[in-house]
Symmetry: C2
Subunit: 223 residues, 2 copies
């Protein structure tokens, strides 16, 4: 992948006012207990139906004590999402390399599969993150940054393939990339949460990949 322009790939920033107010102590256990309680409850019911008291009770502390560890319910979820996103973005560079080595078909599948796998195991957390975006600016910013990273990667791939002559020209690469990444976001989210209509879990990648390949490598000559 030496030839493929490297997209800016900064790791998630160390969440500013998030975690505890001060640092260090045996209360690390409590903090972990809160996070674990949140993860567990989020697989049971949506964030809007989980109160700070639920999280506190689950961690064996009172509500005011909860506020010693986190400034709000949202902050807990953002901490969880930060980690999930870091996991999902982990293999990004190797993946990008594999994309060039293995060829577009296999490379694309590997990339999207990797991504999908990271979220599939915790649909509740994904839903919570999505919900948060509607009320929380920090959640929007975090997700925007993630999307931007993927868009940059895909843009680079499309431009590279076009410059090699393996992909035909068309709408600007970045714009194609934005639409394709958005399609994946929406389709995979719907599948994960079993929305109706949505693609079946074992079909979603096949379908998305066909659209990606046709959008990038195909030309349309409708007759």
């Amino acid at each position: 992948m030496a030839t493929l322009p490297q997209a800016k790939s900064s790791p998630a920033p160390a969440a500013k006012g998030r975690g505890r107010r001060t640092t260090r102590a045996s209360g690390d256990d409590r903090e972990r207990a809160i996070l674990e309680t949140a993860e567990r409850l989020l697989e049971e019911r949506p964030l809007s139906e989980i109160s700070v008291d639920d999280l506190a009770k689950g961690a064996g502390i009172s509500r005011p004590t909860f506020y010693f560890y986190f400034p709000s319910k949202d902050a807990v979820v953002l901490t969880i999402i930060d980690r999930l996103v870091a996991d999902a973005g982990g293999g990004r560079e190797e993946i990008l390399a594999r994309l060039a080595d293995a060829g577009p078909q296999a490379g694309l599948r590997a990339s999207l599969e990797n991504l999908y796998a990271a979220f599939r195991s915790r649909p509740g957390v994904v839903r919570a993150g999505s919900d948060l975006r509607t009320t929380n600016q920090e959640a929007r910013d975090l997700w925007a940054q993630v999307m931007e990273g993927w868009v940059a990667d895909v843009t680079a791939v499309i431009e590279f393939e076009r410059s090699r002559g393996t992909a035909p020209p068309g709408q600007p690469a970045r714009e194609m990339a934005i639409a394709l990444v958005q399609m994946n976001e929406r389709a995979q989210y719907a599948t994960l949460l079993g929305e109706e209509p949505s693609l079946e879990g074992d079909r979603v990648l096949d379908v998305l990949i066909e659209i990606w390949l046709r959008a990038i490598y195909g030309t349309a000559e409708p007759g």
Copy 2:
């Protein structure tokens, strides 16, 4: 359009327990005032930052009186959305017909343009509808029904084009349709709300249409 199988196209159902508890009276004004207040406020700030009291005040009544007209804040938004969706779906049959007459390129553009136009003027309402889906089952059902209608239409078009031989075979038509419709939903929503990254308002249709045409009519021979 006689040859194109007609997708089930039921109009939005007459919202059950929504509107007023009982009927008729001069209080129609009040009901309208509440709806107008909601539409106005939603263009200013998100639903989560609008209280029942805001709506009541805006309509010149007290909070309990609000509950005489609507069972909840959500019900107001759902009423607004119902109408918006009815507007957007209005021209559906003519559009389908035009699609077959004008050919895929122009027909598709006309369809998507029509749809986009219906929502463009009230981004606040669109956002509210999207927000509602996270907490409100009725909102989810309503949107699912709308999506299902579009998916059915697009599926029919794809199958028709494939049977005519103008579109090549590929992944099942319905699955392609789902992914494409989801892409539009997400991309247009992002554009409408000015998310980052998103497509510019004057670019979104060009880009989406290219992807639709390539996905439906193109084949991918990467290499």
